[in-house]
Every structure is written in structure tokens, then in C-alpha cells.
Amino acid sequence: MSTLHPSIEHADHVDHGGHGHGHHELSFIQKYVFSTDHKVIGLQFLFTTLIMLMVGGALALGVRWQLARPWEYMPIFGDLTFASDGGQISPEAYTMLFTMHATVMIFLVIIPILAGAFGNFLIPLQIGADDMAFPVLNMLSYWFMWPAIACFACALGLAPNWLNETFLQLGMEKLVVRGGLIAGAANGWTSYPLLSALEQASPSSGAAQTWWLIAVTFVGVSSMMGSVNYMTTIINMRAPGMTLFRMPLTIWSMFITAILQAFALPVLTAAGFMLVADRMLGFCFFIPSGVVVNNAAPTVGGGQPLLWQHLFWFYSHPAVYIMLLPAMGMVSDMLACMCRKPVFGYKPMVYSMAAIAGLGFIVWGHHMFTSGMNPALGMTFMVATIMIALPSAIKVFNWIGTIWGGRVQFNTVMLNCVAFVSLFIVGGLSGIFMAAVPVDIYIHDTYFIVAHFHYVLFGATLFGVFGAIQFWFPKMWGRMMNETVGKIHFVLTFIGFNCTFFPMHLLGIAGMPRRYADPYHFPYLEHLLPLNQFMTGAAILMGFAQFLLLGNFVLSIFFGPKCGRNPWNANGLEWSAPSPPGHGNFDVPPVVYHGPYEYSSPVSGDKDFLMQTEYVPLAQRKVHTGH
């Protein structure tokens, strides 16, 4: 057996070019641009999403600036667009800023960085496959992101003139964004009709909104290709011995996410097409008759705006878990490794993820408690929503259980993972307030909600991602990231994050509504200005801290200390492959003998880890486990 398992000591001597299969010369473009290799695609996703993270962050700083200094000069953006107004932005520019911030962060950062970047990179490596089941589909799923990004740019009002001219000549006036940045999509990332359905309803409801919908469709197609691929790969391509319950939790989470996405996404895509049809073809799915906006002709047809909310949230609530579950899985992996201890309650972890996914489909109505849907439904949705806190709670307890008794390595990975758990607790608990319908009546659409979802999506998911980048970076590049810079980045981001978002709970309780360009002309909110200024300062600090991450990431690719196959002494299959793995991933086809979390096992002798590929003779096992 020993030939099958090159030991760690020998790992560095194995030339990763020497593996046996499918090795033929590829051109640069095939290798690094239109590559079908899951690792390259994963890294392409990672680079793209990191850039988009900076874009989304810049938009957020614009929002924060306005809240700290309403109607004063806004740096950069004010100069660019509103110089003759004294650099003061207009209200529709503000609405555009927060809309595009959410759009970019959700559709171009969080969903693709989890499923696209880490899903792609990790799934074949962790299950012992040489690539995805459908490599070309995989490549397409990345390249469909670019039309999406281009369409979002048009939705921002950044369509180049030649494009607008072309559409004019083709007679497609409805795709020409008139007014540039001021007319950028600004109906919230939720894009509720009628605001988003009637092009006369606001400056942003013109062509920009159509572009926005087209872009979301592209993102959807990309995600859908990914999720089909992930499901097939995980079901069919596991290495020998990799039973379902020997899969790392990362894989479980990716698997469940893929299922969620496959069932929820078509609804959004359909809804998006319906809205586009409403806008461009005169359908009236969401438009009731006789509505006059901006003195245009009254609308015809007998649609119902609430339908959009149902369809949208039927996707977008599961989407919240799509944005969270993979991070939960990855954090479980990282916590076990950094605490040198098996995950506490592996199966309950799996079941609770499945429960979250299942319940996730029947709670969408909690976004609509005040929307005017049948009030009796509110009761059902409330009970379901409150109950979804249960699996989340189980996971938190299990994470704490995992750390308990561990030999904790306080490195950047661990710190980010602990931040994940700590901040997810806040995000989860604040969720209970809004799950309770009567309380939600008050806090709905206030900053309490904003605080909640930033704690979940940024506090939890992004901190998980920061940890994951640091953790799997050696596998990506064969080098380590800088630990000191990583810690500084962590501390600045953690402090900046909490100072920015925790006070938002208080703003929400104080009744400050979201999406207000100027809350302070309501007397009861005037006194919140200093607090908002403090938060803006913290947000700017946090924003600039991300350059540390970016710099650390890019510089470490070239100058980081080199490392071997398994720098963390981790158990997963990916650590038995070379760093970085060559085409086809494994030099030795892996065979799996254990679950992924056999850290500090008595059978592993002096080592405190036991790789999944490492065979332990029966006798040795009996001695130590007493079976």
C-alpha cells in the first residue's frame, strides 16, 4: 500500500509534471484564459470577485459618505458627475449607489466567490477527482460572468456611446441608457415593481433596469451551470472510499448549495424574464391597470406587483443560504484543522445544513410581512422562519464544541474563522427579532435589517472567505500568505466591521429607515448624525484595510515563502496533491480510508493528523480505539 501514499517527507520530491495522464501541450490561452481546468477557473473567479469586492466597497463608501455628510461635496464621485452642482450628489445617484453596491456584492462577489471560486477549486481536489464532470460547462460558467459584468456596467449608465448608437440604429431605443450615471439602476437590489416595471417611474427605471435584469439572468445562467456541474461531480466522481459521510463539510455545503440553487434559481430567471417582458413587450404580469406615473398614459392589464415579491424572494431567500452555507462548510474544515480536533458532531452538521436548505424554501414570506400579502400567511411564515434558527443554532454549538478541548493555532485562518462564528451569532440572533412578525412591523426596512444581513453576509461569509483564502492559498500557488499582514488586515477589518455595522442595530431601533438619501430632515433622526459619521469613519478604515488583503494576496503569489503539499498538516485529500496541483490534480490516484477530521487521533501515533489517504492497519486501530 505504501506506494499509493507518498509520505509527506517525500512529497516535495515528486515532480508534479510527472503524472501519467492527459498531458499534452496547451497554448497560453487554453491554459490560462479559456481553460477547462477547474483550478484555473476557480482562480479566475477568485480574481474577478476580489476586484468586484473593491468596486462594491467603493460604492458602499459613497453611500456612507452621503449619510455622514448629506448634501455636501462627495469626493471623486461628486467631481465626476456633479461638478457644477458643487460636487453634491443627487438623490437618484444615492439610490443608484446603494442599489449597485448590493447588486455587485451579492451577484458578483459573494455568490461567485463561494460557489465559483472555492467551489471550483475545492470540489475535485477534496473528493479526489481529476477535474469537474463537465469541464467545458465549467469554463462557460466563468465566461458567462463577463457578459453579466458588462450588462451591470450598462445598468450603471456606463454604456459606451458606440453601443448606444448601435442600439439606436437597430431601433432598440429601450436599451439605450439616457442620462449616464444619474440614470443608473437604482430600484434596490430587490427591484420591486412598479418602480422597476414602469420606465417612467423614476430616472433609474429606464433602460438601466432592463440591463440590470439581463445581467442578473447572465449571473443566473452562470450559477446554474456551476450547480449542475457540482452536483454531478460530487455524486459521480468521488475517489474510492470517499463515501458520502466521509466527505468534508465543505463538499457537503457545496452539494447542498448546488441543490438549493438548482431549485430556486429558475424562479428568479423566470421572474426576471417576466419583468423584462413587462418592460419591453407590453406584458402586464406585475402591472395593474390604470396606474398613471409621471403623467404617462395609464397602464393597461391586470397584473399584481406582489407577484414579483413572491417570485423574487422564493429565489432570494434560499439565495441567502447560497451565500452562507459554503462558508459554513469551509469554516468547519478550517476550524477542525486549526484546533487539531475532529469536527464536533459531523452528522448533525450535515443534517442541520440539509434542514437549513429545506426550511430555506418555505420562509420567503418573512420578507413580505408588511407587504399586503394575505396576513394569515404571516403566521405560517413566522413559525417556519423562527424554526430555521434551530439548525443555525446547532451549527454554532457544534463549532464551539469543535474548538473546545482543541489545541488552537491562533493564526490568521483561525482568527477569521472565530470571527465568522462570533459574528454569525450576532447575525443569527438579530434575525429572531425580524422573524417575529409583530416586531418586524416596526423594524422592517429600517437599519436593523441592514445590520442583520451585513452581519450574516459580511460578518460571517466574508470573514469565512478571508480565512479560506489564507488557508487554501498554499494549495493555489505553492506559497504561503504573509501572516503578519493577514493579522493586521483581520484586526482592522474586524474592528472596522463592528464599528460600522453594530451601531446599525441601534439606528434601526431608533427607527431610521433604509435607503434614505437624507434621514436627517426628520427631526427624530437628527441626533443620529454623529453616530453615522462615526460609522462612516469606521467604514472607510475597513474599506482601505482591504488593500492589505489584496496586496498580501498578489505579492504572496510571487514572494511568499514556498511550502510543501501539506503546510497545515491537514487531513483532506487536497493536501495529498502537489502544491499547486498540476493538470489532473493527483500524481497518485487517491484512495480514502477515513473521514476528513481525524485530528489528534490516537491511531495516528506521534502525528496529530491522519490524512484521508493514509491507511492504518487494523491491528493498530484496535489497539488504540479498543474496538
Binding site: 455636501e72 457644477s84 460636487g87 423614476s202 409621471n294 441626533h527 454623529p530 469613519g537 472607510i540 478604515l541
Partner: protein
């Protein structure tokens, strides 16, 4: 922590936090590398931009001299704008501690406890009177001793008994602050109705620069009164994007009304001065050259013909003017005009505007019905209907036979005023050149207000800047106007499908069950 229903001592402890916040923001601003940003600018009319450079410069200088820039307003006293400030008179004058500063004791009428440093001082009488308002600014004001210091020239020294206004222009500044926060995005920095949002709105936001406002209580030849503007700001204009600013606060509303009036005066001042300088445009120079060329060509043909005929005495026509020469001539002509007549023209315009805007607030300019509203009964409405359909009023040509705002006139092409050119679109247009829909009277939506007196005034004086004419005094007696008012206001309730309308608007809700 949860049971601490907030106690009575609120908002005391925010002060230290403000310090922390200010600090954080200061660091942040430093990080972002931001300064104060670009300065807001007043735009100029297209007509101004078309003038020859010297004329353009003269107009811009005059405007800047008289009105300043958005960040440095100039209060031109002769315009009837309540610039604000408190009247004071000098009790004693002394030299200041600093060189070139002055200290005077004054007695002030009104509240100046909030008098900030930098407030301007305007001298109404005495040796310093007649100087520009911006010349003196308050450095300090001691409320106890009522002592005022200012820097600036110490000569001529003020004498005891001189009357001055302190804080002159602060109402205008306040108005600007309110305007830049609430109005600018639609109405534009200069009140040209061309803010960043304006292009998306229908109807377009008002361009103040014609000095014309639609919904007024004044006679048709008069400007808008303060009360009218105040009302519009307070209650909005239903059916348009002008919302109600009911809760803006009385002082804010008043000051923004003054600012809007001031912007309107500035705009109209520019327009009238443009009109005075109509000969000095680039276009007219080109036109002159062209005409001269045509004349020359014609003369040349005649000359050639006469030469051919053998007439040796024929006078050779003068060469046509070259463009550069024409420009030079125009520039010289303007220099002459500037030296002799421009000041007078500016003076005339200013006094015309000052009088017109002063008159607008006179009781005599306000339309008041001479008889109470005629009883709103079937007979009155029927008389109103007949008048509506009569050739005396021709209401139906625009508002339609059923009052739906779809009369025959909305299907015609109309000429641009003062020209033979047609508008490219069918239907009526207003003085600003925007397409205009006659009101659908069946909606119960009254843009100028729903009081009977409002509708009466619309009929009496028309709607300014639109084809809606006034019938008061001449065509109709007040009683007849009331009949039409009664008829028009009943239309909302006679609709064949009354269920389809409501007061605030026109959402059809009948096909949905009531959500109970």
C-alpha cells in the same frame, strides 16, 4: 438592559461622542484626500452664450456684480427681496483694538443673539451708506455691551445715529441652504429648471428665469406673489413631481420663497439684458455678412449687365463685409453702447423688475371675486356648461367636450410664438416650449389648488405662460365665472364610471376586492 425605557435625560451624552466621531471622520477625510470640492455655479442662458465675447463678458460681469455666485451671494438692495438682517443704529463709535478694525456700540431692534461672525453690515444712512453690502463683515458681536467690531476700511468713520443693517442677506443665505438641499436637484442651481433630475420629469420643473409662474392669485399681467409661492411650496402641485413641503418649517419656507424670487429676478434680469443686446450676437453678425454678400451679388450682376451694355459710368459695388470686419464693427459698436447706454439699460431693467415684483404683493394685484360663489345647484352648473360650450370661452376646444382634456386643439400643430415655425409635436405648448396637456377636468386633480377661489382665479386671469386665457373683467362677469367653476368642479362626480377615479389621482381599484 432591556427594561430601561429611556429616561428623561436624553441626548446629553452625545457631546463626547461627537468628538470621537468628528475625529474618526477627520482621519477618514484625510485618508480619502478630500478637500471642499468644486464650487457650484450659476449657468447662463443660451442667448447669453451666443453673444459676441465683449457683450457676453459685460453681461456676466453685470450679473456677477449684482447677484454674485452660488457660494458668494450678492444682495442687490434695489430688488424687493427680504434679504434679512436686523436694523440697528450707532450709539457710540470708537477705534478697534486691531488696526483697521472698528468698534461701535449699537442698539439693535430684533433678535441678533445668533449673530455670527462674518455676517455682513449694510449702512443705510451716514457717511458709509451707499457702499456695497459686502464691504463690512462682523468680526465679533458682544450681546451684553452691544458692541460690534468689524474689519475693513476704517474711513469714513460712522457717526452716531447712523442706521445700519447687521446680518444683511442672511435670509437669502438660509434660502440658498434650503434650496440646495430640497429644490436644486430638479430646479437646478440657477433656477433654470434643469437640475440633474429634471430631464426625467413630466411636466418639466419650472424654469424661473422667465419670471413667470403658473399658479398665482394675481392679475394676468402681474408677477407671482409671495403668498402664492408659499402656498405652492407648502402644498405642492398635485399631478406633478412638485411635492408638498408642508413640514419644511415656516422660516425655511419663507426664506426659500425669497430665494426663488431672487433667482427669478436674476434670471429675468439676464433675459431682458440679453434682449437689449440682441444685435450683438454671433448669429446676427453672420446674418449681416450673409445679407451683405447677397446684396453684393445682386449689385454685381446689375453692374456687370450695365458694363456689358456699355455704360462706363456704372458704379462698382462695394465689396461685401468680411466676417472679421463685421465682428470688429460689432465689437466697436458694443463698446460705444457700453460706454453710453448699457448702464441706463441695466438701470431700466432693474427698476422695471423691482416695480413689477413689488406690485405683485400689492392688495390691488390680487384677484378677489366681487360676488360670493353662486349657489352650486343644477341650474348654475347648467349655465356653466353652456358657457363652457359657448364661443365666448371656447373651453371645449382644448378641454374637450367631456372635459377630459382632449379637445380638438390638442390635435393641431401650433406655431412657436413670434415665428412662423411650427412645433414638431402636435398639441399645445407653454411659454417654456414644453408640450402641454390641457387639464383633464374629470379627475378632481387641481394643480393650482382645489378651493373654489383657486379655480375662480384660473378662469379669471388664466394660467400664466400657457394658452389658458383669462376671462375676468372682459369676457365674463364674476357670476358667470362662478357658474363655470360650479360646472367644472362637478365634473369629477358625473363621470360615467365614478368608481374609476379618486381625488388624489386615478388608480383603478375596482377590479380588486377590498382587502378586508
Amino acid at each position: 438592559m432591556m427594561f430601561r425605557h429611556s429616561s428623561n435625560h436624553r441626548s446629553v451624552t452625545t457631546a463626547p461622542w461627537q468628538l470621537v466621531c468628528g475625529l474618526a471622520l477627520g482621519i477618514a477625510s484625510g485618508l480619502a484626500g478630500c478637500g471642499t470640492g468644486p464650487k457650484a455655479e450659476f449657468s447662463y442662458r443660451e442667448a447669453t452664450q451666443k453673444l459676441i465675447p465683449v457683450a457676453r463678458k459685460a453681461i456676466k460681469d453685470t450679473l456677477e456684480d449684482g447677484f454674485g455666485t452660488p457660494h458668494n451671494l450678492v444682495a442687490w438692495e434695489r430688488f424687493p427681496v427680504a434679504y434679512g438682517g436686523a436694523k440697528a443704529s450707532v450709539v457710540a463709535a470708537a477705534e478697534g483694538v486691531q488696526p483697521a478694525s472698528k468698534t461701535i456700540s449699537v442698539s439693535v431692534e430684533g433678535d441678533v443673539s445668533k449673530l455670527a461672525s462674518g455676517a455682513s453690515v449694510l449702512w443705510l444712512t451716514g457717511t458709509r451708506a451707499g457702499e456695497k453690502a459686502a464691504a463690512d463683515t462682523v468680526d465679533t458681536y458682544d450681546t451684553k455691551t452691544k458692541t460690534l467690531t468689524w474689519s475693513g476700511s476704517a474711513e469714513p468713520a460712522p457717526g452716531v445715529g447712523d442706521v445700519l443693517i447687521v446680518g444683511f442677506g442672511h435670509a437669502l443665505q438660509k434660502g440658498r441652504a434650503v434650496y440646495m438641499k430640497n429644490c436644486m436637484h430638479c430646479h437646478g442651481v440657477s433656477g433654470d429648471g434643469n437640475g440633474s433630475t429634471a430631464q426625467f420629469l413630466n411636466p418639466r420643473p419650472r424654469d424661473y428665469r422667465l419670471g413667470v409662474f403658473k399658479f398665482t392669485s394675481t392679475l394676468s399681467a402681474e408677477k407671482v406673489s409671495r403668498d402664492d409661492l408659499h402656498r405652492v411650496v407648502k402644498y405642492g402641485i398635485p399631478g406633478t413631481y412638485m411635492p408638498s413641503f408642508l413640514l419644511l418649517g415656516e422660516e425655511e419656507t419663507k426664506s426659500v420663497v425669497e430665494y426663488v424670487r431672487w433667482l427669478a429676478m436674476r434670471g429675468e434680469f439676464e433675459k431682458r439684458t440679453d434682449d437689449d443686446l440682441g444685435d450683438f450676437t454671433e448669429d446676427s453678425i453672420v446674418d449681416t455678412v450673409k445679407k451683405s454678400k447677397t446684396a453684393f451679388d445682386a449689385a454685381k450682376v446689375a453692374y456687370d449687365a450695365t458694363l456689358k451694355a456699355g455704360d462706363k459710368d456704372a458704379v462698382k459695388p462695394d465689396a461685401p463685409i468680411k466676417l472679421t470686419d463685421a465682428r470688429k464693427i460689432a465689437t466697436e459698436a458694443f463698446a460705444k453702447f457700453q460706454a453710453s447706454d448699457l448702464d441706463q439699460a441695466v438701470e431700466d431693467t432693474a427698476s422695471f423688475l423691482a416695480e413689477a415684483w413689488t406690485r405683485a404683493d400689492d392688495e390691488a394685484s390680487r384677484i378677489a371675486p366681487t360676488v360670493p360663489r353662486v349657489a352650486d345647484d343644477a341650474a348654475s352648473r347648467e349655465r356653466g356648461r353652456l358657457l363652457y360650450m359657448s364661443d365666448k370661452t371656447k373651453c371645449y376646444t382644448c378641454h374637450g367636450l367631456l372635459g377630459k382634456g382632449n379637445g380638438a386643439a390638442t390635435e393641431d400643430f401650433w406655431k412657436k410664438p413670434g415665428t412662423e415655425e411650427l412645433y414638431p409635436r402636435r398639441g399645445l405648448h407653454d411659454a417654456w416650449g414644453n408640450p402641454l396637456q390641457p387639464r383633464n377636468l374629470t379627475l378632481g386633480q387641481y394643480r393650482g389648488g382645489r378651493r373654489p377661489v383657486d379655480v375662480f382665479r384660473r378662469l379669471y386671469a388664466g394660467i400664466k405662460g400657457t394658452p389658458m386665457p383669462g376671462f375676468g373683467k372682459t369676457a365674463l362677469k364674476d357670476e358667470e365665472i362662478w357658474d363655470i367653476v360650479n360646472f367644472v368642479m362637478s365634473l369629477q362626480y358625473q363621470s360615467p364610471q365614478p368608481a374609476k377615479t379618486n381625488a388624489g389621482g386615478h388608480v383603478v381599484a375596482t377590479d380588486m376586492p377590498e382587502a378586508k
